[in-house]
């Protein structure tokens, strides 16, 4: 997983950054370009770079590596993955309000494609779990109501009993709703990117940062409540027992930045991990599909398609795995602070 992420992140930046060097046909490609109207014929753009036959290059290019950026001459992987102000659907493009249309207190709250997909994921989460709850409350005593109820209940119970309780320990029930919601919300966000015309909001650092930030507050406030202010303060300002007060406080002062950095590193790791994993999978898919254009021939079509199918299945697994890991690490961190020192 990590290797794909690394290679691919390096790859991902490359087309954008390397463009001035590699594309002497003077295609300046930047932020402004990304929003240029879809005016330039895609076919021509693809042909220039790929050097393949026109018809072959054109059609898939329009389908897969959609180009909001006119005539970039390159498949812009990042444009496909990153947030955007337009959502391409078959035959139409949904345009979102321009940046800065909804300014609230100096913050741009304009909805974007990822905001929309967050809402989709939220709706799916609500439907799934409230549907499960409905089935649960209609179930007769001692029975479950069908496969769907079993599935939802088993997942919820698994997160509560196997993820939250062993890691948080005593009093973990209070954190179960948070972790279960995290799991399902992240899972549906991850999965939405795997359906055609979908987009993965969790491939956006803003989204994962928000999730990690909430986890951070839950972890720290949970720790504060569980340990009391005095003991919680010891997780930041740690004077070892039996040490001379002056020396101990000096050491605590020296260690404080590290303790604080450790506290901040945990949500940072959560955010970057989720974002990197989700981004990497999509870039790998696009890179494989772009092999078709690199070779510029229909003859190689089966290989990239088969590879892409395989990677898609891998991504399906990764979507579950990363949601699980996020939930798992969140509970581990909650437990760590509650039982620190």
């Amino acid at each position: 997983m990590i290797s794909t992420i690394a290679v691919v992140l390096a790859l991902a930046g490359a087309p954008q950054q390397a463009e001035p060097v590699h594309a002497p046909q003077a295609q300046t490609h930047g932020a402004a370009d990304a929003h240029a109207p879809v005016a330039t014929p895609h076919g021509q753009a693809a042909v220039e770079t790929m050097g393949g036959t026109q018809e072959h290059g054109a059609d898939p290019n329009a389908g897969h590596a959609d180009d909001g950026h006119g005539g970039g001459g390159q498949i812009d992987f990042l444009h496909h993955i990153q947030d955007s102000r337009e959502w391409e659907l078959p035959g139409t493009v949904v345009h979102f309000p321009a940046a800065g249309s909804w300014m609230v207190g100096g913050i741009d709250l304009t909805p974007t494609k990822h905001t929309l997909f967050l809402v989709f994921a939220a709706i799916l989460t609500l439907l799934t779990l409230i549907g499960g709850a409905g089935l649960a409350s209609r179930a007769e005593a001692g029975r479950t109501r069908g496969k769907r109820h079993n599935l939802i209940e088993a997942t919820v119970l698994f997160i509560r009993n196997e993820v939250v309780m062993p890691n948080v320990g005593h009093g973990g029930e209070k954190f179960a709703p948070f972790v279960i919601t995290l799991f399902f919300f992240i899972l549906f966000n991850n999965l939405l990117g795997l359906i055609p015309y979908g987009s993965t909001a969790t491939a956006n650092i803003s989204v994962t940062a928000a999730l990690a930030l909430m986890t951070f507050f839950v972890v720290e406030i949970g720790g504060l409540i569980a340990m009391g202010p005095k003991h919680y303060w010891h997780t930041i300002w740690f004077v070892p027992q039996g040490m001379h007060p002056v020396a101990g406080n000096l050491m605590a002062a020296a260690l404080m930045p590290i303790e604080l950095a450790g506290k901040i590193a945990r949500p940072f790791a959560l955010a970057v991990r989720l974002m990197a994993n989700m981004t990497a999978g999509h870039i790998v898919l696009l890179a494989i599909i772009s092999l078709i254009f690199v070779f510029g021939s229909w003859a190689v079509l089966p290989a990239p398609v088969l590879m892409a199918v395989a990677i898609t299945f891998l991504e399906l697994f990764v979507a579950f795995l990363q949601a699980f890991i996020f939930a798992m690490l969140a509970s581990v961190f909650i437990g760590l602070v509650r039982h620190a020192h």
Partner: protein, 191 residues
């Protein structure tokens, strides 16, 4: 610890593109609006689910667990009941067998006794009959002897009468005869 330092460095780097990045910029550009949206949406989802979904899902689980526990308890109770019933049955069977055995023994004893009684009675009766027969024989013999004697007396009288008809038909003779007859009868009665 080293991880934390990494994090600090990375954070220092990450802070810079936060403002510099326009959309479509780097992969690490943070859009604060989207972050806020995420928090809002997530918190709404969490609140709604905490209100409507989890209590019901977990409640159903708990209800089922309670139901199963109750079933287990009932099964345990039934099992104990059944065991008690089985023990009771076994005890009853044992008791019945003992009683039947006793009854049979008793019956056999009674039969034995009855047989003995019957035999006894039969024996006694036979003995009695024998006794009676013997008495009858004795008395018959007495009577026969008596008759013989009487006949003998009558015959002797008749013969003697014939002989001494005329001479002995007096009072003296009669007395003589009676005396002699009494002498004859005494040893016979004694015999």
């Amino acid at each position: 610890m080293r991880r934390s330092l990494f994090a600090a460095t990375a954070l220092a780097f990450a802070a810079t593109p936060l403002h510099a990045a326009e959309e479509g910029g780097g992969l690490l550009s943070v859009n604060p609006g989207l972050t806020i949206w995420t928090i809002i949406i997530f918190l709404i989802v969490l609140a709604v689910l905490s209100k409507f979904a989890y209590p019901r899902i977990l409640g159903a689980v708990e209800a089922r667990e309670a139901h199963i526990a109750q079933l287990t308890l009932a099964a345990e109770r039934d099992r104990e009941e059944a065991a008690a019933l089985a023990a009771e049955n076994r005890r009853l069977v044992e008791e019945t067998r003992a009683r039947v055995h006793g009854a049979v023994e008793e019956a056999r004893g009674q039969a034995e006794k009855m047989r003995a009684e019957v035999m006894d009675a039969a024996n006694r009766e036979r003995q009695e009959m024998l006794e009676r027969a013997r008495r009858d024989i004795v008395s018959e013999r007495e009577m026969a002897l008596d008759t013989v004697r009487r006949d003998a007396v009558v015959l002797a009288m008749a013969a003697a009468e014939k002989l001494v008809r005329r001479s002995l038909d007096t009072e003296d003779n009669r007395r003589l005869v009676r005396e002699s007859l009494a002498q004859m009868g005494a040893p016979a009665a004694r015999a």
